[in-house]
């Protein structure tokens, strides 16, 4: 697999480093440069492994264990290749008949160090191919995608072959202690321009009483309410129609009730003050049918400019 972060420049640098390493290795193998330090071959290999392991760790700390081992092995192979190439250069340039002797010379300390250095330079661009550790997040995500919940959800819907995937997730909102409640807001009467429409809306009182707070409604009031209606001026209702609700507080509704029913309710002095300010939503399904046509009259159409479409290019979806 060609990776986009391994470019032609990277490939060239690998080749260039390899060639330079081989040339220098061959050069150093022919000099009389003596290094006092002598070490056995296994020790040298071990030192090489440590150097290469450290290099791989620095280059790619996220490499997996397999990637780390692969990196060290690759570097060692490269080091041997550079040294061997250096030995071959000696054979060809010096006309030495014994390649083995030439290779022994490149195994000296100085040529070896040169080979190590240039193998590091050559392999540095190749670090992008090292396999990486899976991050915790990716592991969790993949586990979720492969989880039994997903498989069972797909099977349960019976739409697995349609590609419909419904994943049920525990609703974290259920665990929250405080969830912002969606409460209807009382409309401000002045928000909508009031039309000069006369009229009244008549609401069955029995229906209205069922909407009042329970602690205020008495049996006597309910009995009286069966045969009476609540009359509300259209002026008071119309500004709220566009809000999708018609709200009055309990205190406001008290003033609109027939006197007998008003007296039958629990009196304000006896009920808590906050109960009086409780908003009561009147039934729209009773109000709206009684509205005169002009109450719901719309202004002249004023769609935005994007709505002006000639319709010649109609979109068609391929339906079954």
């Amino acid at each position: 697999m060609i990776r986009k972060d391994f470019t032609a420049v990277s490939a060239f640098s690998v080749i260039a480093a390899f060639a330079a390493g081989a040339a220098l290795c061959s050069q150093f193998s022919q000099t009389d440069l003596q290094v006092g330090l002598q070490a056995s071959t296994p020790v040298l290999w071990a030192v090489e492994a440590v150097i290469f392991g450290t290099a791989v760790f620095i280059w790619c700390s996220r490499a997996s264990f397999f990637g780390w081992i692969l990196g060290i092995a690759s570097l060692m192979i490269f080091r041997v290749a550079v040294a061997s190439a250096g030995g071959m250069v000696v054979v060809f340039t010096q006309g030495m008949g014994d390649p083995g002797a030439a290779l022994e010379q490149t195994a000296g300390l100085v040529p070896r160090a040169c080979a190590i250095l240039f193998s590091l330079m050559a392999c540095y661009p190749l670090r992008v191919f090292l396999p990486l550790r899976e991050s915790q997040a990716i592991r969790r995500g993949r586990g979720f995608a492969d989880s039994a919940a997903v498989r069972s959800a797909t099977a349960a819907t019976g739409d697995g072959d349609r590609g419909l995937l419904i994943v049920t997730v525990k609703n974290r909102a259920d665990d929250e202690e405080q969830v912002p409640a969606f409460t209807p807001q009382a409309a401000s009467p002045g928000a909508v321009p009031r039309l000069d429409i006369e009229g009244e809306i008549e609401l069955p009182l029995s229906r209205v009483l069922t909407l009042l707070p329970e602690e205020v409604v008495t049996d006597k009031a309910l009995a009286l309410g069966d045969s009476q209606s609540l009359i509300i001026s259209l002026d008071a209702i119309h500004p709220q129609l566009r809000e999708g609700q018609v709200l009055f507080t309990l205190g406001e509704l008290r003033g609109m009730l027939p006197p007998a029913v008003r007296k039958a309710l629990v009196q304000p002095s006896d009920s808590e003050a906050e109960v009086e300010s409780t908003p009561v939503a009147l039934p729209l399904e009773v109000i709206v049918p009684q509205l005169p046509p002009e109450a719901l009259e719309l202004p002249p159409p004023s769609p935005p400019s994007w709505a002006e479409v000639d319709g010649t290019d109609t979109i068609v979806f391929a339906t079954t």
Partner: protein, 200 residues
């Protein structure tokens, strides 16, 4: 945001179904998914709660007929309608090209419809968009139920400007494709202007 790939001759647009909770947004998408030819749509992804309420969004990619030699692709999204998921709704609205506002026609949902519509305007404003510049249509869903408000009252509350509106029964598929076709037409019709403005 809409994108045009001249090399592949493809136009890609994003359409969002918006509305209060349980109004039928996901139902719209499910119906579209079940009734479009499989090779013209992708998999529908739904992230929902055990009660089948949308938690994050629903997503469905669709391909439509060619327009002026360009393949048209639409990415359909729905938002979670519950009030508490406003931040998610805002995220889904990012880079939107067209909106279908789904209303629940029931009487006791009227206030939620109004609140949701205002919420839509607020969330668009947070990105510098507005309903003046973003095409939208209104779908009055659940017209088959008994306790529904008349369309003229729904128009009065939600659509006084009288942008295109459709009555629908999404669970049966009535009005679903009509609504979708209309918004897609409006979105594509706006492409030349957006190109001139340099927004695509």
């Amino acid at each position: 945001m809409a994108s045009i790939n001249y090399a592949l001759k493809e136009i890609s647009c994003k359409v969002v179904y918006y509305g209060p909770g349980m109004c039928g947004k996901t139902t719209n998408l499910q119906y579209i998914h079940q009734h479009t030819v499989p090779d013209k749509r992708g998999n529908m992804v739904s992230l929902a709660t055990p009660g089948e309420r949308t938690l994050f969004f629903d997503f469905l990619p669709l391909e439509a007929s060619q327009v002026h030699g360009f393949r048209t692709k639409f990415q359909l999204y729905t938002v979670p309608g519950q009030v508490m998921y406003n931040s998610t709704r805002k995220l889904v609205l990012r880079a939107v090209d067209g909106i279908i506002f789904v209303c629940d026609s029931q009487w006791d949902k009227m206030r939620e419809n109004v609140e949701s519509f205002r919420n839509l305007a607020e969330n668009l404003a947070s990105y510098g968009y507005s309903l003046e510049t973003t095409p939208y249509v209104v779908q009055y869903n659940k017209r088959d139920l008994d306790n529904t408000a008349p369309v003229d009252y729904l128009q009065y509350t939600i659509n006084p400007r009288q942008v295109p509106q459709f009555e629908a029964v999404a669970i049966q598929g009535d009005g679903v494709f009509d609504t979708l076709n209309c918004i897609c037409t409006l979105v594509l019709a706006q492409m030349p202007q957006k190109q001139k403005a340099g927004t695509i």
